[in-house]
Amino acid sequence: MRRDFAPWADPNARPLVRFEAVTKRFAGVTAVDRLSLDIYAGEFFALLGPSGCGKTTLLRMLAGFETPDEGAIRLGSDDIGRVPPYRRPVNMMFQSYALFPHLTVADNIAFGLRQERLPRQTIEARVAELMTLTRLDGLERRKPHQLSGGQRQRVALARSLAKRPKVLLLDEPLAALDKKLREETQFELMDLQDRLGTTFVIVTHDQEEAMTVAHRIAVMNQGRLAQVAPPRELYEHPASRWVAGFIGDVNLLDGVILAADPSGLVIEGRGGLRYRAAAGAEFKAGQDVTLALRPEKLRIARQQPDNASENCVAGRVHDIAYLGDISLYRVLLGSGTGMMTASVANASRLADRSIDWADQVWLSWEPDAAVVLTQ
């Protein structure tokens, strides 16, 4: 199902959630600024951004804890912007979990169902189903303080799923877990979302988490959307310098287009360096551009490559960071245009490091490795 799932690319698909030019201000500060966004049924959608970018405000508006100052929020065809949270078919899993400390695990999960005054047997059956789904069997009578962090997280998840919400909101759901448990839980969440088919909207500041779980990611900055795209596109084709720098590590090289033709772009960078990059319809000669290069797309060598006239910069190794799976080389460029980072996979164990501190090196790359940015 995940393979061909791309309703956002289908012009006939109707979104489940639609933000229409939504603005929200707090005491004069604009948290969300005329933001429009469509989320489709069955999507695992991530809101990603630095703290204070407005992602949590957006989620809280969807939950009903905040009302938009301007614009509309639609769920299906209804405008839910002013509907109180207790009347929305949307449930939220809180960052702090917000488990009711005086209620048992079973009573916490049943809380929402009891508000609907469902028959007792229905509630009990649904609670049992959720306990199994979230692997909480045997913990029915426990109180939240008698649970481990991971168990609490699963109770919060079960409680928010109990009413079969149309949209499940997850506010930094894994932030309180340690790294290993967090990674396991990310895959569990994906699996769960896939099985239930419920639309999940997750808020996170952890880009790895967003890229792991989500079909699409909305990168937010200062109350606006910087880019909305699937993880791969976001990484390989960032829309701006800011997105390129926010998602993963990136090397940015400024330059001016000398020639733009269907075979490619020729760019002159600082210090008279020449770059060649894949062509694009939107480029024309004389334009100021920035090349974005991912560290893993750079080759690093102690000998000057054969074709050193293009896409090649010289420098001296300034720093080496051994990270286990990869090593990072920070290279001080000879042209004085700054620092670049190259990463090399540590393919063989105990291999001799051929490149050392202060070595003279050349960094080179293929023309299609660079993304040309104008913003």
């Binding site: 949270p85 207790y86 449930n91 917000a98 009711f100 809380f111 929402g112 928010s160």
Partner: protein, 306 residues
């Protein structure tokens, strides 16, 4: 580890544990036993005004005569004359009704304080305890001024044309309730505020998210979580109000008395120390009940982890 330190630490730890017990023995148990002994004695025109008095110089005979002189006559008096029973009932009734009124006024106050902006909260707490800066007696006397027939309350009500003639507020149960509720409000508000202030208000968002209207969220989340505060506030008010003497004496009427007044009368007017002591002992037994309830709630709260 140095064994010397361990021994010293053990001694220090034991001292810390035993000190409160020693305090209770000297300042609670011993006086209580004295009162209990007096309650079993007979009144007499003597100094002290009761018999028997233990005469240690008479040896075993003295102890035997002393024990033979003790009896339950005073407790029988408490049950034979209905004035005592009525006094107890009136005290318990006034304490119960006052506590209910205090809870009804104090809970919204404490809730509002707990939800006020952080920087305002310490000032609000300050305002609640501000009346303690003035003597309790002066504040109760001030109420006499406010409640008398040409006092502030009647004049304001007349100006507003809510009443035609002055109302006799003083010397009534209404005046007692006004005085008690006014005086005890901080004792209700502070423990309630302390529990509500610790409450995570995200829980109310979670309840709303799960479909609970504000009223349902209040009854199912806020009230259960503030139960320790409710219990503490209610007991801090109920117990001293039951034995209250000054407020009913200054503001209340003379037709029926609270138990504190009856005790005072027996002790000072009638010079009947034994009956007064018996009244005190029975009052204590009556109040042990609610204290045990409180203890039970506290234990449950500790077990619940917070």
């Amino acid at each position: 580890m140095n064994p010397g330190t361990t021994t010293l630490g053990g001694f220090g730890a034991r001292l810390v544990v035993w000190l409160p017990y020693a305090w209770l023995v000297v300042f609670f148990l011993v006086p209580f036993l004295i009162v209990l002994k007096i309650s079993l004695s007979q009144t007499a025109i003597a100094l002290p005004p009761y018999v028997p008095v233990l005469d240690p110089s008479a040896g075993w005979d003295g102890i035997r005569t002393f024990l033979a002189g003790l009896g339950l006559d005073n407790y029988a008096t408490l049950f034979s004359d209905e004035i005592y029973g009525l006094s107890y009932l009136k005290s318990l009734k006034i304490a119960a009704v006052s506590t209910a009124i205090l809870l009804a006024i104090g809970y919204p106050l404490a809730y509002g304080m707990a939800r006020a902006p952080r920087r305002l909260q310490s000032m609000l707490v300050m305002l609640v305890i501000l009346p303690f800066w003035t003597s309790f007696l002066i504040r109760v006397y001030a109420w006499i001024n406010i409640l008398q027939s040409d006092g502030l309350l009647n004049r304001v009500l007349q100006v507003l044309h809510l009443i035609d003639a002055p109302v006799a507020w003083l010397a009534s149960d209404t005046a007692i309730y006004i005085g008690i509720v006014y005086s005890y409000l901080p004792f209700m508000v502070l423990p309630l505020y302390a529990t509500l202030e610790k409450m995570d208000f995200t829980l109310l968002e979670a309840a709303a998210d799960l479909g609970a209207r504000p009223a349902a969220a209040f009854w199912r989340i806020t009230v259960p979580l503030s139960l320790p505060g409710i219990a503490a506030g209610a007991l801090l008010c109920f117990i001293p109000i039951t034995g209250e003497f000054v407020i009913p004496d200054l503001l209340g009427g003379s037709d029926s008395l609270m138990i504190g007044q009856t005790l005072w009368t027996e002790f000072f007017a009638n010079k009947d120390w034994p009956v007064a002591s018996a009244i005190a002992v029975v009052l204590l037994i009556l109040l042990v009940g609610p204290i045990l309830v409180y203890q039970h709630l506290q234990m449950r709260n500790v077990e619940a982890g917070g």
